[in-house]
């Protein structure tokens, strides 16, 4: 098949720009493709598909209340915020965080385990505060590793690196204080649960997320 005809069939070259020979070939191809289309018309799913799918789903064990609450907590949703509410919330947050010896959340998984953690300049836990968390995964043979979680809307936008090629991938990324679910994304398509996490949460649908508790260090 010559390049001209190939580009036409790929949709990159209109019929009227083809030479006579290629045009004849293109018309023969259109007849053949029409035969395929006629023999494979668009069809609707059988009417019982919906009832069979829903019956199978209804027969599955129901997720526990904790799993449902967790799924609800980590799911993104639109939030309306008024300036007054922001002011009140910030004042309340600062009042709580500035009490000496009090953390924002119990637990300190990342802060205690991750090397070289640092808090950006500014008041601890103030508006926009983040903590840099070290993520590490042993994945020899992987061509890429990223971490994805509710902190990046599960986009997998934080790419880990393995500069010395020993199969240990790592990276430090900013995460806001709070409780976060995350997983590793290996080679862009394989989801892996962090085997070294302190906590995990089943989501009721066969997946197991690692849980990261990020707290603001006290002075």
């Amino acid at each position: 098949m010559n390049d001209e005809l190939r580009r036409h069939l790929d949709g990159d070259l209109p019929m009227d720009s083809l030479g006579d020979e290629a045009r004849g070939e293109a018309e023969a191809w259109e007849r053949l493709l029409d035969a395929f289309r006629v023999e494979t018309p668009a069809v609707q799913a059988p009417p019982w598909l919906e009832s069979k799918v829903m019956a199978e789903i209804e027969a599955l064990p129901e997720p526990g209340i904790i799993q449902r609450i967790f799924a609800w907590l980590v799911s993104p949703r639109p939030v309306r915020i008024s300036p007054i509410a922001i002011g009140l919330a910030t004042a309340a947050l600062l009042a709580v965080l500035l009490i000496p010896g009090r953390g924002f959340l119990p637990g300190s998984h990342a802060l205690e385990e991750g090397p070289g953690l640092a808090v950006p300049a500014g008041l601890p836990g103030g508006e926009g505060a983040v903590v840099y968390v070290q993520f590490t995964l042993e994945a020899p043979g992987a061509s890429s590793v990223a971490v994805a979680g509710d902190f990046d809307s599960w986009e997998g936008s934080y790419a880990l690196s393995d500069p010395d090629g020993d199969g240990v991938w790592s990276g430090r990324f900013p995460v806001k204080p709070g409780l976060h679910a995350y997983m590793f994304l290996v080679d862009g398509s394989t989801w892996m649960t962090d085997p070294r996490a302190d906590r995990y949460a089943e989501d009721g649908f066969g997946n197991r997320n690692a849980i990261l508790a990020v707290t603001v260090p006290t002075a």
Binding site: W29, R37, T40, L49, I57, A71, D203, N207
Partner: protein
């Protein structure tokens, strides 16, 4: 099955992105959120929106209505079970399609390994016409069926999406998690094989 759904390109989105919804309807992302929060019945909306597209593609691939409905059912149930791992909830339709695509190709590979007959085209619903038309249709079907059976599952899928379903390479790449270049290669190889197998037919 009611079908307010389309997988055709939506403004600013591309194919397989999300169902075209009336303003009062929940978006795909809202449905996913509700299901994950415990409203199982909300999943019915996704089945209605994408059932036809999933079944239609499976039928083109495996040529058997029974097997196609089984594959569509398995894809939709698996989608429910794995719903929390759907990262882009506005594109849950594309995500479901990818699940179906993998199940369908695995099914075809398994069918080859177990030497089950590929001769399934006759199971498609008959169209009208007299005995002569039926005989001609049967001959055409036989030729096309045998030719398609020579393609690998990846080639068959790419060929069907490109030339039968009329998708662009960019649309295909978005749902199949493959590059445009590799999809073009699959289609080119499929066409080369079909050209050889159906030379006199054309």
């Amino acid at each position: 099955m009611a079908s307010p759904t389309t997988f055709s390109p939506a403004a600013g989105g591309g194919p397989y992105v999300s169902a075209m919804s009336a303003p009062a309807e929940r978006t795909d992302a809202q449905v996913v959120r509700d299901v994950l929060a415990g409203d199982r019945d909300a999943y019915r909306l996704l089945v209605r929106r994408y059932g036809d597209v999933l079944y239609g593609h499976a039928l083109r691939m495996v040529r058997s209505p029974d097997e196609a409905s089984d594959l569509a059912q398995r894809a939709l149930v698996k989608g429910y079970r794995k719903l929390s791992s759907c990262r882009d909830r506005d594109r849950v339709g594309a995500w479901l399609f990818r699940i179906l695509s993998n199940l369908t190709k695995d099914h075809l590979r398994s069918r080859r390994r177990t030497s089950i007959s590929l001769d399934r085209l006759e199971e498609l619903p008959e169209q009208g016409g007299g005995p002569l038309e039926a005989a001609h249709r049967g001959e055409v079907r036989g030729r096309l069926r045998l030719a398609l059976a020579q393609l690998t599952p990846d080639q068959r899928e790419a060929f069907m999406l490109k030339h039968v379903e009329g998708r662009s390479y960019e649309e295909m790449a978005a749902v199949l998690d493959a590059s445009v270049a590799s999809l073009k290669m699959r289609v080119h190889r499929a066409r080369d094989a079909l050209q050889e197998l159906l030379e006199d037919f054309r």
